[in-house]
């Protein structure tokens, strides 16, 4: 089976997928309720797409394709509200967060779908340990080559998204001291990491994908767990490093930030990406996972150290004109707020842990925040 033809479309459109946690109201452990919720949601018209994920305590929702942050946010809110109503009827709570802080992976139930069962038998405990929750952002591309260019041009900004979305400080009951412990689970998969540096789709398809396919290791793009990957059937690039934030507001803001950044990159303001950019890629990614906004990056070109926080602030300033054109200043304001005062959701969760004195209290706070949408009342 060859690679699907790239369905090029309008550039800079965006769509969001969120993997959400289903927890019970008693001890806030994960609850295997995905098919029950799905059944209930199918009875009504759901404002988006909703589907099962690999374990029964995870549900994935997806928005339509949007041009503007405002519409994206509005749809995400409707999705959230309907999820809350449905889950309330079933005594289940829904929340964000990249990991469930104290679930035991050995206790998870694999969804009864052939693909999941097959993944489970191939990857063994990795599949269950993969009960982690990510946000995927799709950005539309005008051509296949454009998607490959964008994918690599974004390499140096990847830590921004990790740090801003990070919401998985706890894993298997302990504080990992990482802001995003979730990504450590993703890295365990053999086909995770970065895409090879190829800018020509024809070359990508015939010299890379076809060879990989021949080895029998992959069958389609879904088998690559890259940080950013092209999605030919949607005509998009898909950013996969974000933890699911605790609020849909943060999720929409991240998507709008990526959209504005892509617009800037497509205007060719920066030098084209080269292989040597990737020398510092894993290190920078680690810094963002480990320290969040307090990480320190190495600039891929001049090799200077720069605080991640400062780099984001500077980038937000640079993309501001593009955000104005796209109508997404509100999104950048939300991120600015996170950087300057609130911190990311990993720090919110740690504060809640300190306040409540238990991991259960922390999940309870995440559930409340998901419904309410904001840390502070406006």
């Amino acid at each position: 089976m060859a690679l699907t033809a790239f369905k090029a479309g309008e550039a800079l459109t965006m769509g969001v997928e969120l993997e959400l946690q289903l927890v019970n109201w008693t001890d806030f452990d994960l609850s295997g309720s995905a098919s029950d919720i799905l059944h209930l949601l199918q009875a009504k018209k759901f404002p988006g797409e909703v589907k099962l994920e690999i374990t029964e305590s995870m549900i994935e929702v997806a928005t339509d394709v949007h041009r503007h942050h405002e519409q994206l946010l509005e749809q995400l809110r409707r999705i959230r509200d309907q999820l809350v109503v449905a889950s309330d009827r079933l005594n289940v709570a829904v929340c964000g967060g990249g990991t469930h802080p104290f679930q035991r992976w050995s206790e998870r139930r694999i969804s009864a779908k052939p693909r999941f069962l097959q993944l489970s038998s191939l990857y063994g405990y990795l599949a269950k340990q993969f009960t982690v929750f990510g946000q995927h952002v799709h950005i539309g591309c005008a051509s296949a080559d454009q998607s490959l260019y964008l994918l690599h041009a974004l390499n140096r900004y990847l830590p921004h998204f990790i740090a801003l979305s990070a919401s998985s400080p706890f894993f298997q009951g302990v504080d990992t001291r990482f802001d995003s412990a979730r990504l450590n689970s993703v890295f365990a998969f053999p086909l995770s990491g970065r895409a090879p540096l190829i800018f020509d789709w024809h070359e990508f398809e015939h010299d890379y994908f076809a060879k990989m396919e021949k080895t029998g290791v992959v069958k389609n793009m879904k088998d690559f767990y890259w940080d950013i990957r092209p999605q030919p059937e949607y005509g998009t690039i898909e950013l996969r490093v974000c933890d699911t934030p605790l609020t849909v507001e943060r999720a929409a803001a991240l998507a709008a930030y990526l959209q504005a950044l892509c617009r800037m990159l497509l205007q060719g303001d920066e030098a084209a990406p080269i292989e040597d950019d990737y020398l510092v890629y894993n290190y920078n990614r680690f810094q963002a996972c480990r320290f969040g906004l307090d990480g320190v990056l190495v600039h891929p070109r001049n090799h200077q150290s720069l605080p991640l926080r400062d780099d984001i602030v500077a980038t937000l300033r640079r993309v501001a004109p593009h955000a104005r054109v796209l109508g997404s200043q509100a999104a950048l304001d939300e991120l600015q707020q996170a950087i300057s005062s609130e911190g990311n959701h990993a720090s919110f969760l740690r504060q809640q842990f300190d306040a409540a004195g238990s991991v259960q209290g922390m999940v309870a706070a995440a559930v409340t925040l998901f419904r309410k949408g904001r840390i502070r009342a406006r």
Binding site: D27, G32, D36, A86, L90, G361
Partner: protein
Amino acid sequence: MIPETLQTLLIAVAWPLAIAVAWTVGELAYRLLSLPRISSYGIAGFLMAANQGGFLADPSGGPVTLLAHFAFALILFELGYRINLRWLRVNPWLGASGVLEALSTFLAVFALARAFSIAPVPALLLSALAMSTSPAAVLRVANEVGSSGQVTERALHLTAVNCVLSVLTFKAVVGYWLLASIDSAFGAIWNSLGEFVVSVAIGGLFGVAVPALLRQIGDVERHATAAFAVATLLLTALTHALAFSPMLAALAFGLVARHRRVILSKAQSNFGTLGDLLTVLLFVFVAASLDWRPAPTAIGMVLAIVLVRLTVKTAAVTLFARLSGTTWRKGALTGLAMTPMSVLVIVLLEPTRHLHLYALDQVTGLVAIALLLEVFGPLVSQRALIWAGETRHLDAP
């Protein structure tokens, strides 16, 4: 001389030995046959009882009784703790199906008992008891197979609803009977309504006080299990001594403590090892109190009642399944999961003894129903949870 020493020895070690035997049988049967442990405890206890020619004397009134009450109270506390009152408010159809299944069970069993020409009052008592699902069986089975999902949650919530309704109805019948048989109307009202209200109030008081105390002590995570267990022990002894209902008090305690939000962690479900041990004792105790001898005479009625109760419960829960947001299938499985009865039966009858109300003797066949549902009820619950695909430790065959 030697036989006499042996006999003394046997009496001295009777309960610990029975518990050891029941536990071993439970583990073996679970491993080899996937039989719910509590079913095995019941069978073992029943066979070891003196009534059946075994070495366990009828335990009623002894120190084992208090322990059994304590074990049962721990389970009721946990059930109360898992009940989310907000759910019943958000999803009123669920509450409605709970009321419907309890009431229709009451009516159906009453009609059937009358058809088998049981006198009105014992028939009423029997129907009131038949309303309830055994919280111990449902909770232990759910925990044993690690199930979570709609069938599990619904079965637990509906069990709490039907237990409360069952107690209320039972007390009302007792009140009515006392009113008819003795001339103190005040006593009758006090015994039914008063007992209910005061029991719930004492439990509720504990539910407020213990979490507050825990917050003062700090390190909630570490102390919560012990504190709740200690408080439940005290509550059981207190309500028992004052002749209120330890069961209702424990249920109210759990319910209020939950809504005061001191959160139990996952590892503490079942009250850990303490709960495991006391559960063996409880189920052996209950089964050992049963006397099979009068039962065979009523076997036709017993089977009819068991069957009708199961059918009515399942039908009633299934009827509201879609309205309350689940499938017909899961509705029916919820009804099936609520088959167990029994522990409640004995413990309910316990406090009425001091009222010189020998209800147990009045209700022919109750023992057989209790035993049947004691052993087979948990098995049906277990199967229902497996068929619903909600279990973790056992897969569908």
